[in-house]
Symmetry: C2
Subunit: 273 residues, 2 copies
Amino acid sequence: MSFEKLCLHTITTKSWDLQTAVQKYSAAGIGGVSIWQDSAQAYAGGLKAAGEMTRSEGLDIVSYVRGGFFTGLDAATRQKAIDHNKSMIDEAAELGAPLIVLVCGATPGQSLFTSRDQIAEGLAQVMPHAEAAGVKLGIEPLHPMYADSRSAVSTMAQSNAICDIVDHKNLGITLDVFHVWWDDQLEAQIKVTGEKGRLFSFHICDWKDNPEDMLNDRGLMGEGVIDIPQIRSWVNAAGFDGYDEVEIFSNRYWAMDQDEYLAMIKQAYLDTK
Amino acid sequence: MSFEKLCLHTITTKSWDLQTAVQKYSAAGIGGVSIWQDSAQAYAGGLKAAGEMTRSEGLDIVSYVRGGFFTGLDAATRQKAIDHNKSMIDEAAELGAPLIVLVCGATPGQSLFTSRDQIAEGLAQVMPHAEAAGVKLGIEPLHPMYADSRSAVSTMAQSNAICDIVDHKNLGITLDVFHVWWDDQLEAQIKVTGEKGRLFSFHICDWKDNPEDMLNDRGLMGEGVIDIPQIRSWVNAAGFDGYDEVEIFSNRYWAMDQDEYLAMIKQAYLDTK
């Protein structure tokens, strides 16, 4: 069994700096890496060199994480977010990352409907910049437990609706099983996403029974309640043939030996193929 | 301003035993109480006497909390749940509570679709018992962050679908703003619930920005991101004229002086009317 279509997010093994992570993943036969902004920015040689180093180790850069946060109570705040996303697009281009994952934002004090309108408006402003840079943007619907201040976009249906409004070939969706596994419309909406040619990336991990923490207690694939093979079958049926990206925030796993953890991730990936 | 249509759940001030809670609420001019099972069972004189004591203090018993948990991997587990719910119905009748709130259950290892089928099947088994006892049952959709093992019913739409399947006048819905505030179908589904005459009760509290805990960090009304007046207006437009029930699980509030807390609850209720 090969790990060519396995990709890790640098945050999954966040105590490793970018070079260490890339070398470890490469030595493990893993094909891809999604690079978090802090990890890339800490690389001494700059973003361009970080990208070259990564590719020279034989790894594909799958995505740059993460842009978004388009909402705000006033226009100045929203303009700042648009400018920030344009900068991130430039950074992604420098790094050689084809895709930026978006956590779209939510603002306490305004309705989620208003926030979603602002997200669509912000995206419309940045898409020409993304196209010129040859970078795609993937809306990642986040679990409704993050609808307070992280993402007013909680479902694939809302993501598809925003893509329909903005209507740009560089805009699509990043599906993370952690966020959408519970949704009774998931299969149908994955199908729509595939038909529209906008399923850009696929994140895996697991939802543990009774997580201890809302952010940092994600499980390894197979450790929780998500039927990953089922969701992957829908994703594949929708035409997706990209990477399985492992993105796990976990105080427990971050605290253990990261080489052992990497071996566990590979095994969990095999067990849930 | 009167507190006649305000109701507190005993768990909101859980360090008070039932008699203390009832006397404190009554002295505060509050009209109703929803009684949790542990609180009722700890009353020395038994359930019938607990009900009489409560009414003699001038409080309405609004609901008995909580039944449900109908799912399970094998038939014996599910039969046990059905028997347990029948017992709870008997208890509610003894107490004089017109309604039992249901947390419907979810079982790791089976799909949410299967769990929802089992919930409908379990309910169909208990409804004749509920009708004979003169007790109503309210399905409470729970936030998707509890879909692992607490409730496969996460939305008002799923609740309405189960009510349609079971189709019994004693079965309806309990809406808690904490669980459903994020849902873009909320207004439409409240309307359906009203048209079908099945909106049985209404729970309020708030979703804080960045809660510290998935269970026990609920906010007072007005302290978080939920637009309670907006949701109440939909509920009232759907014909609901029952109690505003305050159900707050909060390590922070449980740790403070409960008389002061009670005064804060009353003020928060006024501020979000």
